[in-house]
Protein backbone atom coordinates (compact mmCIF):
# COMPACT_ATOMS: atom_id res chain seq x y z
CA UNK A 1 0.00 0.00 0.00
CA UNK A 2 1.35 3.42 -0.93
CA UNK A 3 2.01 5.07 2.38
CA UNK A 4 0.88 8.68 2.73
CA UNK A 5 1.83 8.83 6.37
CA UNK A 6 4.82 6.66 7.19
CA UNK A 7 6.29 5.82 10.57
CA UNK A 8 9.63 4.08 10.13
CA UNK A 9 11.34 2.32 13.03
CA UNK A 10 10.18 4.92 15.55
CA UNK A 11 11.65 4.60 19.02
CA UNK A 12 10.52 6.94 21.79
CA UNK A 13 11.69 6.97 25.40
CA UNK A 14 10.59 8.82 28.50
CA UNK A 15 13.86 9.02 30.37
CA UNK A 16 15.02 5.46 30.92
CA UNK A 17 11.77 3.93 29.83
CA UNK A 18 11.43 3.05 26.16
CA UNK A 19 7.76 3.41 25.30
CA UNK A 20 7.92 2.75 21.56
CA UNK A 21 10.33 0.02 20.61
CA UNK A 22 10.66 0.46 16.88
CA UNK A 23 7.28 0.95 15.25
CA UNK A 24 6.70 0.73 11.49
CA UNK A 25 3.39 1.89 10.17
CA UNK A 26 2.09 3.01 6.83
CA UNK A 27 -1.22 4.80 6.38
CA UNK A 28 -2.71 5.38 2.93
CA UNK A 29 -4.31 8.67 1.92
CA UNK A 30 -7.92 8.79 3.00
CA UNK A 31 -7.57 5.76 5.22
CA UNK A 32 -8.95 5.50 8.76
CA UNK A 33 -6.53 3.65 10.99
CA UNK A 34 -7.22 2.80 14.63
CA UNK A 35 -4.40 2.32 17.12
CA UNK A 36 -5.76 -0.17 19.59
CA UNK A 37 -4.24 -1.41 22.82
CA UNK A 38 -4.59 -1.41 26.57
CA UNK A 39 -3.31 1.49 28.66
CA UNK A 40 0.46 1.83 28.65
CA UNK A 41 0.90 0.05 25.32
CA UNK A 42 2.27 3.19 23.65
CA UNK A 43 -0.67 4.03 21.42
CA UNK A 44 -1.05 7.62 22.64
CA UNK A 45 2.73 8.06 22.52
CA UNK A 46 2.70 6.89 18.90
CA UNK A 47 -0.06 9.37 18.07
CA UNK A 48 1.72 12.21 19.83
CA UNK A 49 4.93 11.30 18.04
CA UNK A 50 3.10 11.48 14.71
CA UNK A 51 1.62 14.83 15.81
CA UNK A 52 5.06 16.19 16.71
CA UNK A 53 4.78 16.42 20.49
CA UNK A 54 7.47 13.76 20.95
CA UNK A 55 10.63 13.44 18.91
CA UNK A 56 11.66 9.84 18.31
CA UNK A 57 15.22 8.94 19.38
CA UNK A 58 15.45 6.71 16.30
CA UNK A 59 13.40 6.39 13.16
CA UNK A 60 11.43 8.85 11.08
CA UNK A 61 7.97 10.21 10.39
CA UNK A 62 7.21 11.00 6.75
CA UNK A 63 4.21 12.60 5.11
CA UNK A 64 3.90 12.09 1.38
CA UNK A 65 7.61 11.27 1.27
CA UNK A 66 8.62 14.41 3.19
CA UNK A 67 10.57 13.82 6.39
CA UNK A 68 8.82 15.72 9.21
CA UNK A 69 10.53 14.00 12.15
CA UNK A 70 11.99 17.27 13.48
CA UNK A 71 9.25 19.60 12.28
CA UNK A 72 7.12 21.36 14.92
CA UNK A 73 3.51 20.17 15.34
CA UNK A 74 1.98 22.93 13.23
CA UNK A 75 4.16 22.30 10.17
CA UNK A 76 2.85 18.81 9.59
CA UNK A 77 -0.60 19.52 8.18
CA UNK A 78 -2.14 17.60 11.03
CA UNK A 79 -4.76 18.46 13.60
CA UNK A 80 -5.14 16.63 16.87
CA UNK A 81 -8.37 16.14 18.80
CA UNK A 82 -7.51 15.67 22.46
CA UNK A 83 -9.05 13.21 24.85
CA UNK A 84 -10.00 16.02 27.23
CA UNK A 85 -11.09 18.13 24.20
CA UNK A 86 -8.85 20.90 25.56
CA UNK A 87 -11.30 23.62 24.58
CA UNK A 88 -10.40 27.07 25.82
CA UNK A 89 -13.04 27.98 28.39
CA UNK A 90 -12.70 31.74 27.96
CA UNK A 91 -13.49 31.61 24.25
CA UNK A 92 -16.84 31.03 22.57
CA UNK A 93 -17.51 28.06 20.30
CA UNK A 94 -16.83 30.26 17.26
CA UNK A 95 -13.58 31.57 18.73
CA UNK A 96 -12.45 28.04 19.54
CA UNK A 97 -13.22 26.81 16.04
CA UNK A 98 -11.73 29.90 14.43
CA UNK A 99 -8.48 30.04 16.42
CA UNK A 100 -6.45 28.13 13.84
CA UNK A 101 -7.75 30.46 11.14
CA UNK A 102 -6.84 33.51 13.23
CA UNK A 103 -3.29 32.22 13.58
CA UNK A 104 -3.12 31.63 9.85
CA UNK A 105 -4.25 35.26 9.35
CA UNK A 106 -7.32 34.27 7.39
CA UNK A 107 -9.39 37.38 6.65
CA UNK A 108 -12.40 38.04 8.87
CA UNK A 109 -14.96 37.34 6.14
CA UNK A 110 -13.36 34.12 4.97
CA UNK A 111 -12.87 32.96 8.57
CA UNK A 112 -16.52 33.64 9.45
CA UNK A 113 -17.63 31.69 6.38
CA UNK A 114 -15.37 28.76 7.26
CA UNK A 115 -16.53 28.77 10.90
CA UNK A 116 -20.17 28.74 9.75
CA UNK A 117 -19.38 25.88 7.38
CA UNK A 118 -17.73 23.83 10.12
CA UNK A 119 -20.56 24.60 12.54
CA UNK A 120 -23.11 23.42 9.97
CA UNK A 121 -21.06 20.31 9.26
CA UNK A 122 -21.09 19.35 12.93
CA UNK A 123 -24.59 20.47 13.82
CA UNK A 124 -23.40 23.28 16.08
CA UNK A 125 -25.34 25.99 14.31
CA UNK A 126 -27.16 27.48 17.26
CA UNK A 127 -24.20 27.34 19.63
CA UNK A 128 -21.64 29.70 18.09
CA UNK A 129 -21.79 32.25 20.90
CA UNK A 130 -21.81 29.80 23.79
CA UNK A 131 -18.78 29.08 25.92
CA UNK A 132 -17.57 25.47 26.36
CA UNK A 133 -18.83 25.46 29.96
CA UNK A 134 -22.39 25.77 28.66
CA UNK A 135 -22.19 22.75 26.36
CA UNK A 136 -22.88 19.05 26.87
CA UNK A 137 -20.10 16.48 26.54
CA UNK A 138 -21.14 15.53 23.03
CA UNK A 139 -21.29 19.16 21.91
CA UNK A 140 -17.85 19.88 23.36
CA UNK A 141 -16.51 16.88 21.53
CA UNK A 142 -17.90 18.25 18.27
CA UNK A 143 -16.41 21.67 18.93
CA UNK A 144 -13.02 20.01 19.47
CA UNK A 145 -13.47 18.17 16.19
CA UNK A 146 -14.57 21.39 14.49
CA UNK A 147 -11.53 23.26 15.77
CA UNK A 148 -9.32 20.57 14.24
CA UNK A 149 -11.21 20.43 10.94
CA UNK A 150 -11.45 24.21 10.47
CA UNK A 151 -7.86 24.45 9.27
CA UNK A 152 -8.43 21.75 6.61
CA UNK A 153 -5.73 19.39 7.88
CA UNK A 154 -4.40 16.63 5.63
CA UNK A 155 -4.36 14.25 8.56
CA UNK A 156 -6.74 14.15 11.50
CA UNK A 157 -5.41 12.64 14.71
CA UNK A 158 -7.90 11.53 17.34
CA UNK A 159 -6.75 10.71 20.88
CA UNK A 160 -9.52 8.67 22.49
CA UNK A 161 -12.04 11.36 21.57
CA UNK A 162 -15.01 9.31 22.69
CA UNK A 163 -13.81 8.07 26.06
CA UNK A 164 -15.35 10.99 27.98
CA UNK A 165 -18.81 10.53 26.51
CA UNK A 166 -21.79 8.63 27.87
CA UNK A 167 -22.06 5.11 26.47
CA UNK A 168 -25.19 5.94 24.51
CA UNK A 169 -23.86 9.10 22.88
CA UNK A 170 -20.62 7.33 22.12
CA UNK A 171 -22.36 4.91 19.77
CA UNK A 172 -23.84 7.69 17.65
CA UNK A 173 -20.71 9.83 17.68
CA UNK A 174 -18.68 6.87 16.45
CA UNK A 175 -20.74 6.71 13.31
CA UNK A 176 -20.81 10.48 12.94
CA UNK A 177 -17.03 10.68 13.02
CA UNK A 178 -16.41 7.85 10.59
CA UNK A 179 -19.12 9.13 8.21
CA UNK A 180 -17.56 12.60 8.34
CA UNK A 181 -14.10 11.18 7.72
CA UNK A 182 -15.32 9.31 4.64
CA UNK A 183 -17.20 12.32 3.35
CA UNK A 184 -14.18 14.60 3.70
CA UNK A 185 -11.80 11.91 2.50
CA UNK A 186 -9.41 12.92 5.24
CA UNK A 187 -6.67 10.58 6.49
CA UNK A 188 -7.33 9.73 10.11
CA UNK A 189 -5.45 8.03 12.91
CA UNK A 190 -7.58 7.20 15.91
CA UNK A 191 -6.35 6.01 19.30
CA UNK A 192 -8.66 3.88 21.38
CA UNK A 193 -8.69 1.12 23.95
CA UNK A 194 -12.22 0.14 22.95
CA UNK A 195 -12.13 -2.89 20.67
CA UNK A 196 -15.60 -2.43 19.27
CA UNK A 197 -14.99 1.24 18.57
CA UNK A 198 -11.90 0.37 16.54
CA UNK A 199 -13.75 -2.40 14.69
CA UNK A 200 -16.68 -0.18 13.76
CA UNK A 201 -14.77 2.95 12.79
CA UNK A 202 -11.51 1.89 11.20
CA UNK A 203 -10.47 0.60 7.80
CA UNK A 204 -7.45 -0.93 9.43
CA UNK A 205 -6.57 -1.71 13.01
CA UNK A 206 -3.10 -1.55 14.49
CA UNK A 207 -2.87 -3.54 17.72
CA UNK A 208 -0.07 -2.40 20.01
CA UNK A 209 1.41 -4.32 22.88
CA UNK A 210 4.28 -3.13 25.08
CA UNK A 211 5.47 -0.52 22.60
CA UNK A 212 5.44 -2.84 19.62
CA UNK A 213 2.94 -3.60 16.91
CA UNK A 214 1.31 -6.95 17.59
CA UNK A 215 -0.76 -7.07 14.41
CA UNK A 216 -2.01 -4.83 11.62
CA UNK A 217 -5.02 -5.75 9.56
CA UNK A 218 -8.60 -5.08 8.59
CA UNK A 219 -11.13 -5.51 11.37
CA UNK A 220 -12.05 -8.93 9.95
CA UNK A 221 -8.40 -10.03 9.85
CA UNK A 222 -7.54 -9.09 13.40
CA UNK A 223 -10.81 -10.52 14.65
CA UNK A 224 -10.80 -13.81 12.76
CA UNK A 225 -7.11 -14.44 12.20
CA UNK A 226 -5.30 -13.17 15.27
CA UNK A 227 -1.56 -13.44 14.73
CA UNK A 228 -0.66 -14.15 18.32
CA UNK A 229 -2.04 -15.30 21.60
CA UNK A 230 -2.04 -11.68 22.79
CA UNK A 231 -4.12 -10.46 19.85
CA UNK A 232 -6.57 -13.36 20.19
CA UNK A 233 -7.06 -12.57 23.87
CA UNK A 234 -7.29 -8.82 23.24
CA UNK A 235 -9.87 -9.35 20.50
CA UNK A 236 -12.11 -11.18 22.93
CA UNK A 237 -11.07 -14.83 22.67
CA UNK A 238 -10.54 -15.00 26.39
CA UNK A 239 -11.22 -18.67 26.95
CA UNK A 240 -7.98 -20.57 26.97
CA UNK A 241 -7.22 -24.31 27.22
CA UNK A 242 -4.14 -26.46 26.74
CA UNK A 243 -4.02 -29.09 24.02
CA UNK A 244 -1.49 -31.59 22.66
CA UNK A 245 -1.23 -31.23 18.92
CA UNK A 246 0.33 -33.52 16.30
CA UNK A 247 0.95 -31.49 13.18
CA UNK A 248 1.10 -33.25 9.85
CA UNK A 249 0.53 -31.72 6.41
CA UNK A 250 -2.82 -29.99 6.21
CA UNK A 251 -4.18 -31.67 9.32
CA UNK A 252 -3.67 -31.02 12.99
CA UNK A 253 -4.49 -33.95 15.22
CA UNK A 254 -5.49 -33.00 18.76
CA UNK A 255 -4.63 -35.80 21.13
CA UNK A 256 -7.25 -36.91 23.62
CA UNK A 257 -6.85 -35.07 26.91
CA UNK A 258 -8.57 -35.16 30.30
CA UNK A 259 -11.35 -32.88 29.04
CA UNK A 260 -11.29 -33.22 25.30
CA UNK A 261 -11.78 -35.90 22.68
CA UNK A 262 -9.29 -36.67 19.93
CA UNK A 263 -10.04 -34.42 16.96
CA UNK A 264 -8.75 -33.87 13.45
CA UNK A 265 -8.69 -30.20 12.52
CA UNK A 266 -7.68 -28.57 9.24
CA UNK A 267 -4.52 -26.49 9.43
CA UNK A 268 -5.91 -23.40 7.65
CA UNK A 269 -2.53 -21.80 7.29
CA UNK A 270 -1.67 -21.97 10.98
CA UNK A 271 2.02 -22.03 11.71
CA UNK A 272 2.13 -24.70 14.37
CA UNK A 273 4.53 -27.58 15.12
CA UNK A 274 3.69 -30.73 17.05
CA UNK A 275 3.68 -30.34 20.80
CA UNK A 276 1.90 -28.49 23.56
CA UNK A 277 -0.42 -25.75 22.26
CA UNK A 278 -2.70 -23.08 23.62
CA UNK A 279 -6.17 -22.86 22.21
CA UNK A 280 -8.29 -19.74 22.48
CA UNK A 281 -11.92 -19.23 21.59
CA UNK A 282 -14.72 -16.75 22.15
CA UNK A 283 -17.59 -17.45 24.47
CA UNK A 284 -20.11 -17.08 21.65
CA UNK A 285 -18.22 -19.31 19.19
CA UNK A 286 -19.30 -22.54 20.79
CA UNK A 287 -22.29 -24.80 20.54
CA UNK A 288 -23.25 -26.23 23.86
CA UNK A 289 -25.06 -29.57 24.15
CA UNK A 290 -26.27 -31.61 27.08
CA UNK A 291 -23.92 -34.57 27.57
CA UNK A 292 -26.86 -36.94 28.12
CA UNK A 293 -28.53 -36.11 24.84
CA UNK A 294 -25.25 -35.98 22.89
CA UNK A 295 -24.38 -38.78 20.51
CA UNK A 296 -20.73 -38.25 21.40
CA UNK A 297 -19.62 -37.63 17.81
CA UNK A 298 -19.06 -33.96 17.07
CA UNK A 299 -18.19 -34.57 13.40
CA UNK A 300 -15.07 -33.65 11.45
CA UNK A 301 -13.22 -30.38 12.02
CA UNK A 302 -14.85 -29.82 15.41
CA UNK A 303 -13.14 -29.95 18.79
CA UNK A 304 -15.26 -31.30 21.62
CA UNK A 305 -14.61 -30.42 25.24
CA UNK A 306 -16.38 -31.96 28.17
CA UNK A 307 -17.25 -30.02 31.27
CA UNK A 308 -19.78 -29.19 33.96
CA UNK A 309 -21.84 -26.01 34.23
CA UNK A 310 -20.81 -24.10 37.33
CA UNK A 311 -22.89 -20.93 37.11
CA UNK A 312 -25.47 -19.37 34.81
CA UNK A 313 -26.39 -15.74 34.34
CA UNK A 314 -28.43 -13.75 31.85
CA UNK A 315 -26.69 -10.57 30.62
CA UNK A 316 -29.31 -10.24 27.85
CA UNK A 317 -29.76 -12.05 24.54
CA UNK A 318 -27.83 -15.19 25.41
CA UNK A 319 -27.32 -17.16 28.60
CA UNK A 320 -23.82 -16.97 29.96
CA UNK A 321 -22.44 -20.18 31.45
CA UNK A 322 -19.34 -20.61 33.52
CA UNK A 323 -18.14 -24.12 32.72
CA UNK A 324 -15.56 -26.07 34.65
CA UNK A 325 -13.11 -28.18 32.69
CA UNK A 326 -11.30 -29.67 35.65
CA UNK A 327 -9.26 -26.81 37.15
CA UNK A 328 -9.92 -24.45 34.25
CA UNK A 329 -13.08 -22.49 33.71
CA UNK A 330 -14.38 -21.14 30.43
CA UNK A 331 -17.30 -18.86 29.56
CA UNK A 332 -19.85 -20.02 27.07
CA UNK A 333 -22.85 -18.11 25.73
CA UNK A 334 -25.78 -20.20 24.60
CA UNK A 335 -29.36 -19.62 23.48
CA UNK A 336 -30.69 -22.08 25.97
CA UNK A 337 -30.06 -22.20 29.66
CA UNK A 338 -28.25 -25.19 31.15
CA UNK A 339 -28.72 -25.59 34.89
CA UNK A 340 -25.69 -25.50 37.17
CA UNK A 341 -24.34 -29.03 37.63
CA UNK A 342 -25.30 -30.19 34.12
CA UNK A 343 -22.60 -32.18 32.29
CA UNK A 344 -22.15 -30.53 28.89
CA UNK A 345 -20.22 -30.91 25.66
CA UNK A 346 -18.64 -27.81 24.11
CA UNK A 347 -18.20 -28.01 20.36
CA UNK A 348 -15.88 -25.56 18.63
CA UNK A 349 -15.41 -25.43 14.85
CA UNK A 350 -11.78 -25.35 13.85
CA UNK A 351 -12.10 -21.98 12.10
CA UNK A 352 -13.17 -20.49 15.41
CA UNK A 353 -10.35 -22.03 17.36
CA UNK A 354 -7.11 -20.03 17.60
CA UNK A 355 -4.09 -22.27 18.19
CA UNK A 356 -0.69 -21.00 19.24
CA UNK A 357 2.42 -22.83 20.38
CA UNK A 358 2.73 -22.88 24.16
CA UNK A 359 5.38 -20.34 25.04
Amino acid sequence: MGGYLEVAGARVSYGELEVLKGVDLSVAKGEFVALLGSSGCGKTTLLRTIAGFHTPSHGAIRIDGRDVTREPPDRRGMALVFQSYALWPHMTVDQNIGYGLKIRRVGAGAAAARIAEVRALLGLDALGRRKPGELSGGQRQRVALGRALAINPDILLLDEPLSNLDARIRLTVRHEISALQRRLGITAVHVTHDREEAMVMADRIVILNGGEIAQVGTPQQVYNQPASDFVAAFMGAENVIDLDVLAGGETLIVAEGPHNRRAALSRQGRDLASGSAMARFRSEAISLVDARGSDGEPGPGVLQLEGVVGQVSYPGGLWRHVIHLGERTVMVDAEHCFEAGTAVHLRIRDDRLYLFPRS
Binding site: A51, D74, A79, F82, Q83, Y85, W88, H90, I103
Partner: protein, 273 residues
Amino acid sequence: MPVPFLGLLLVTPALLVVTLLFIVPLASSITGAFDVDGNFGIGNFQKAFELYSSDIVFTIVIVLLSSVLIGLCSIAIGGYLTLGNNPRAVSILKWLYRWPLFIPFIVVGQILRTFLAKNGLMNSMLMESGILTAAQTISFLDWRGIVIAFVWKQTPFVTLLIAGAMASLDRAMIESARNLGASRLRILVEIILPQVLPTLLVGLILSFVTMMSVLSVPLMINAQSPTMITASMAFRINAYGDYGVANALGVISLMTTSVVAWIHLRQTMREHR
Protein backbone atom coordinates in the same frame (compact mmCIF):
# COMPACT_ATOMS: atom_id res chain seq x y z
CA MET B 1 -24.45 21.28 76.97
CA PRO B 2 -26.66 22.20 73.99
CA VAL B 3 -24.83 22.09 70.69
CA PRO B 4 -25.46 25.70 69.52
CA PHE B 5 -24.05 26.99 72.78
CA LEU B 6 -20.98 24.77 72.43
CA GLY B 7 -20.44 26.15 68.93
CA LEU B 8 -20.58 29.73 70.23
CA LEU B 9 -18.15 28.84 72.97
CA LEU B 10 -15.71 27.48 70.41
CA VAL B 11 -15.71 30.67 68.31
CA THR B 12 -15.55 32.98 71.31
CA PRO B 13 -11.72 33.11 71.63
CA ALA B 14 -11.35 33.92 67.93
CA LEU B 15 -14.10 36.49 68.16
CA LEU B 16 -12.48 38.11 71.21
CA VAL B 17 -9.10 38.28 69.52
CA VAL B 18 -10.57 39.88 66.42
CA THR B 19 -12.63 42.32 68.46
CA LEU B 20 -9.94 43.35 70.94
CA LEU B 21 -6.93 43.36 68.67
CA PHE B 22 -8.45 44.45 65.41
CA ILE B 23 -11.88 46.03 65.54
CA VAL B 24 -11.40 48.13 68.69
CA PRO B 25 -8.03 49.67 67.68
CA LEU B 26 -9.31 50.23 64.16
CA ALA B 27 -12.42 51.95 65.44
CA SER B 28 -10.40 54.06 67.86
CA SER B 29 -8.02 55.10 65.08
CA ILE B 30 -10.89 56.04 62.82
CA THR B 31 -12.67 57.99 65.54
CA GLY B 32 -9.28 59.46 66.50
CA ALA B 33 -8.95 60.80 62.96
CA PHE B 34 -12.09 62.87 63.50
CA ASP B 35 -11.10 64.00 66.99
CA VAL B 36 -9.94 67.61 66.96
CA ASP B 37 -9.11 68.73 70.52
CA GLY B 38 -11.86 66.56 71.96
CA ASN B 39 -14.49 67.63 69.40
CA PHE B 40 -15.70 65.97 66.23
CA GLY B 41 -14.29 67.60 63.11
CA ILE B 42 -12.41 67.15 59.90
CA GLY B 43 -9.49 69.35 60.87
CA ASN B 44 -7.06 66.44 60.89
CA PHE B 45 -7.96 65.61 57.31
CA GLN B 46 -7.58 69.23 56.22
CA LYS B 47 -4.16 69.32 57.79
CA ALA B 48 -3.22 65.93 56.35
CA PHE B 49 -4.13 67.06 52.82
CA GLU B 50 -2.44 70.42 53.31
CA LEU B 51 0.85 68.92 54.47
CA TYR B 52 0.91 65.53 52.82
CA SER B 53 -1.13 65.58 49.60
CA SER B 54 2.04 65.13 47.54
CA ASP B 55 2.94 62.13 49.73
CA ILE B 56 -0.51 60.64 49.17
CA VAL B 57 -0.22 60.99 45.39
CA PHE B 58 3.39 59.77 45.53
CA THR B 59 2.31 56.67 47.47
CA ILE B 60 -0.58 55.78 45.19
CA VAL B 61 1.44 56.34 42.02
CA ILE B 62 4.39 54.30 43.31
CA VAL B 63 2.24 51.42 44.51
CA LEU B 64 0.22 51.35 41.28
CA LEU B 65 3.35 51.49 39.13
CA SER B 66 4.93 48.73 41.23
CA SER B 67 1.78 46.61 40.89
CA VAL B 68 1.87 46.94 37.10
CA LEU B 69 5.55 46.01 36.98
CA ILE B 70 5.03 43.11 39.39
CA GLY B 71 2.20 41.87 37.17
CA LEU B 72 4.36 42.01 34.05
CA CYS B 73 7.36 40.34 35.72
CA SER B 74 5.30 37.56 37.26
CA ILE B 75 3.51 36.85 33.97
CA ALA B 76 6.89 36.62 32.26
CA ILE B 77 8.36 34.31 34.90
CA GLY B 78 5.21 32.19 35.25
CA GLY B 79 4.93 31.99 31.48
CA TYR B 80 8.49 30.80 31.13
CA LEU B 81 8.02 28.24 33.91
CA THR B 82 4.95 26.90 32.08
CA LEU B 83 6.10 27.12 28.46
CA GLY B 84 9.89 27.03 28.68
CA ASN B 85 11.53 24.50 26.39
CA ASN B 86 14.80 24.18 28.24
CA PRO B 87 14.13 21.98 31.29
CA ARG B 88 17.37 23.02 32.99
CA ALA B 89 16.66 26.74 32.64
CA VAL B 90 13.13 26.17 33.92
CA SER B 91 14.32 24.32 37.01
CA ILE B 92 17.00 26.92 37.77
CA LEU B 93 14.43 29.70 37.45
CA LYS B 94 11.97 27.77 39.59
CA TRP B 95 14.60 27.44 42.29
CA LEU B 96 15.76 31.07 42.08
CA TYR B 97 12.64 33.15 41.80
CA ARG B 98 11.30 32.43 45.28
CA TRP B 99 14.30 33.67 47.22
CA PRO B 100 13.09 37.25 47.84
CA LEU B 101 9.96 35.79 49.49
CA PHE B 102 12.07 34.85 52.49
CA ILE B 103 13.82 38.19 52.89
CA PRO B 104 12.18 40.82 55.15
CA PHE B 105 11.36 44.23 53.70
CA ILE B 106 13.86 45.94 55.98
CA VAL B 107 16.64 43.73 54.64
CA VAL B 108 15.49 44.39 51.07
CA GLY B 109 15.75 48.08 51.85
CA GLN B 110 19.21 47.60 53.33
CA ILE B 111 20.46 45.53 50.38
CA LEU B 112 19.14 47.94 47.78
CA ARG B 113 20.44 50.96 49.65
CA THR B 114 24.00 49.68 49.38
CA PHE B 115 23.40 48.57 45.83
CA LEU B 116 21.63 51.59 44.32
CA ALA B 117 23.38 54.52 46.04
CA LYS B 118 25.43 56.98 44.02
CA ASN B 119 28.60 55.35 45.27
CA GLY B 120 26.91 52.00 45.68
CA LEU B 121 27.72 48.61 44.27
CA MET B 122 25.77 49.01 41.02
CA ASN B 123 27.50 52.23 40.03
CA SER B 124 30.94 50.92 41.05
CA MET B 125 30.40 47.89 38.87
CA LEU B 126 29.28 50.05 35.96
CA MET B 127 32.35 52.26 36.45
CA GLU B 128 34.71 49.31 36.78
CA SER B 129 33.42 47.91 33.52
CA GLY B 130 33.87 51.33 31.89
CA ILE B 131 30.20 51.83 31.01
CA LEU B 132 29.87 54.94 33.17
CA THR B 133 32.28 57.56 34.43
CA ALA B 134 32.09 58.86 38.00
CA ALA B 135 30.44 62.04 36.72
CA GLN B 136 27.67 60.14 35.00
CA THR B 137 26.60 58.08 38.00
CA ILE B 138 23.28 58.85 39.60
CA SER B 139 21.66 57.65 42.75
CA PHE B 140 18.55 55.50 42.48
CA LEU B 141 17.70 56.16 46.11
CA ASP B 142 14.41 57.92 45.37
CA TRP B 143 11.04 56.76 44.01
CA ARG B 144 12.86 54.44 41.60
CA GLY B 145 14.58 52.69 44.48
CA ILE B 146 11.24 52.11 46.22
CA VAL B 147 9.70 50.72 43.02
CA ILE B 148 12.70 48.43 42.49
CA ALA B 149 12.48 47.21 46.10
CA PHE B 150 8.73 46.53 45.85
CA VAL B 151 8.98 44.75 42.52
CA TRP B 152 11.95 42.71 43.70
CA LYS B 153 10.21 41.67 46.90
CA GLN B 154 6.63 41.14 45.65
CA THR B 155 7.16 39.56 42.20
CA PRO B 156 7.95 36.12 43.68
CA PHE B 157 4.74 36.17 45.70
CA VAL B 158 2.52 36.92 42.72
CA THR B 159 4.55 34.55 40.54
CA LEU B 160 4.05 31.80 43.09
CA LEU B 161 0.29 32.23 42.85
CA ILE B 162 -0.02 32.49 39.08
CA ALA B 163 2.60 29.85 38.29
CA GLY B 164 0.49 27.49 40.39
CA ALA B 165 -2.63 28.47 38.51
CA MET B 166 -0.82 28.08 35.19
CA ALA B 167 0.50 24.66 36.16
CA SER B 168 -2.96 23.46 37.04
CA LEU B 169 -4.30 24.22 33.55
CA ASP B 170 -4.84 21.19 31.33
CA ARG B 171 -1.60 20.82 29.33
CA ALA B 172 -3.70 19.75 26.37
CA MET B 173 -5.05 23.32 26.15
CA ILE B 174 -1.53 24.53 25.50
CA GLU B 175 -0.74 21.67 23.16
CA SER B 176 -3.88 22.17 21.13
CA ALA B 177 -2.90 25.79 20.56
CA ARG B 178 0.61 24.68 19.58
CA ASN B 179 -0.93 22.10 17.28
CA LEU B 180 -2.76 24.91 15.48
CA GLY B 181 0.48 26.89 15.16
CA ALA B 182 0.30 29.43 17.98
CA SER B 183 3.67 30.82 19.11
CA ARG B 184 4.57 30.64 22.78
CA LEU B 185 3.95 34.34 23.29
CA ARG B 186 0.50 33.98 21.73
CA ILE B 187 -0.27 30.96 23.88
CA LEU B 188 0.74 32.95 26.97
CA VAL B 189 -1.33 36.00 26.06
CA GLU B 190 -4.35 34.40 24.41
CA ILE B 191 -4.72 31.01 26.07
CA ILE B 192 -3.03 31.03 29.49
CA LEU B 193 -3.36 34.60 30.71
CA PRO B 194 -7.14 34.91 30.35
CA GLN B 195 -7.54 31.78 32.43
CA VAL B 196 -5.24 32.87 35.28
CA LEU B 197 -6.43 36.49 35.30
CA PRO B 198 -8.55 36.11 38.48
CA THR B 199 -5.54 34.66 40.31
CA LEU B 200 -3.28 37.41 38.99
CA LEU B 201 -5.75 40.01 40.20
CA VAL B 202 -5.88 38.50 43.69
CA GLY B 203 -2.07 38.39 43.85
CA LEU B 204 -1.77 42.01 42.76
CA ILE B 205 -4.40 43.20 45.20
CA LEU B 206 -2.72 41.45 48.11
CA SER B 207 0.60 42.94 47.00
CA PHE B 208 -0.97 46.38 46.71
CA VAL B 209 -2.19 46.22 50.29
CA THR B 210 1.17 44.92 51.50
CA MET B 211 3.08 47.69 49.73
CA MET B 212 0.74 50.33 51.13
CA SER B 213 1.75 49.27 54.62
CA VAL B 214 5.54 49.02 54.24
CA LEU B 215 7.42 51.55 56.34
CA SER B 216 10.96 50.22 56.24
CA VAL B 217 11.55 50.55 52.49
CA PRO B 218 10.70 54.27 52.17
CA LEU B 219 12.67 55.00 55.36
CA MET B 220 15.73 53.11 54.13
CA ILE B 221 15.72 54.16 50.50
CA ASN B 222 13.93 57.46 50.21
CA ALA B 223 14.78 59.67 53.19
CA GLN B 224 13.47 62.79 51.48
CA SER B 225 10.22 64.45 50.46
CA PRO B 226 7.86 63.42 48.97
CA THR B 227 7.77 60.06 50.65
CA MET B 228 5.20 57.39 51.35
CA ILE B 229 2.21 57.78 53.67
CA THR B 230 3.64 55.24 56.12
CA ALA B 231 6.77 57.31 56.61
CA SER B 232 4.71 60.48 57.08
CA MET B 233 2.53 58.76 59.68
CA ALA B 234 5.56 57.55 61.62
CA PHE B 235 7.09 61.03 61.44
CA ARG B 236 3.85 62.66 62.64
CA ILE B 237 3.74 60.44 65.68
CA ASN B 238 7.45 60.26 66.52
CA ALA B 239 8.29 63.90 65.95
CA TYR B 240 5.07 65.65 67.06
CA GLY B 241 3.05 63.07 68.98
CA ASP B 242 0.26 64.15 66.60
CA TYR B 243 -2.01 61.13 66.57
CA GLY B 244 -4.88 63.04 64.97
CA VAL B 245 -3.16 63.70 61.64
CA ALA B 246 -1.50 60.28 61.73
CA ASN B 247 -4.92 58.69 62.15
CA ALA B 248 -6.31 60.79 59.31
CA LEU B 249 -3.45 59.60 57.07
CA GLY B 250 -4.23 56.05 58.20
CA VAL B 251 -7.87 56.45 57.19
CA ILE B 252 -6.83 57.79 53.79
CA SER B 253 -4.56 54.79 53.37
CA LEU B 254 -7.38 52.50 54.45
CA MET B 255 -9.76 54.09 51.93
CA THR B 256 -7.27 53.40 49.16
CA THR B 257 -6.86 49.75 50.08
CA SER B 258 -10.64 49.48 50.50
CA VAL B 259 -11.06 50.35 46.84
CA VAL B 260 -8.89 47.43 45.75
CA ALA B 261 -10.43 45.17 48.38
CA TRP B 262 -13.80 45.99 46.88
CA ILE B 263 -12.51 44.97 43.43
CA HIS B 264 -11.29 41.73 44.97
CA LEU B 265 -14.62 41.02 46.65
CA ARG B 266 -16.56 41.75 43.49
CA GLN B 267 -14.29 39.35 41.61
CA THR B 268 -14.77 36.62 44.22
CA MET B 269 -18.53 37.09 44.18
CA ARG B 270 -18.54 36.77 40.41
CA GLU B 271 -16.54 33.55 40.58
CA HIS B 272 -18.86 31.99 43.12
CA ARG B 273 -22.03 32.85 41.29
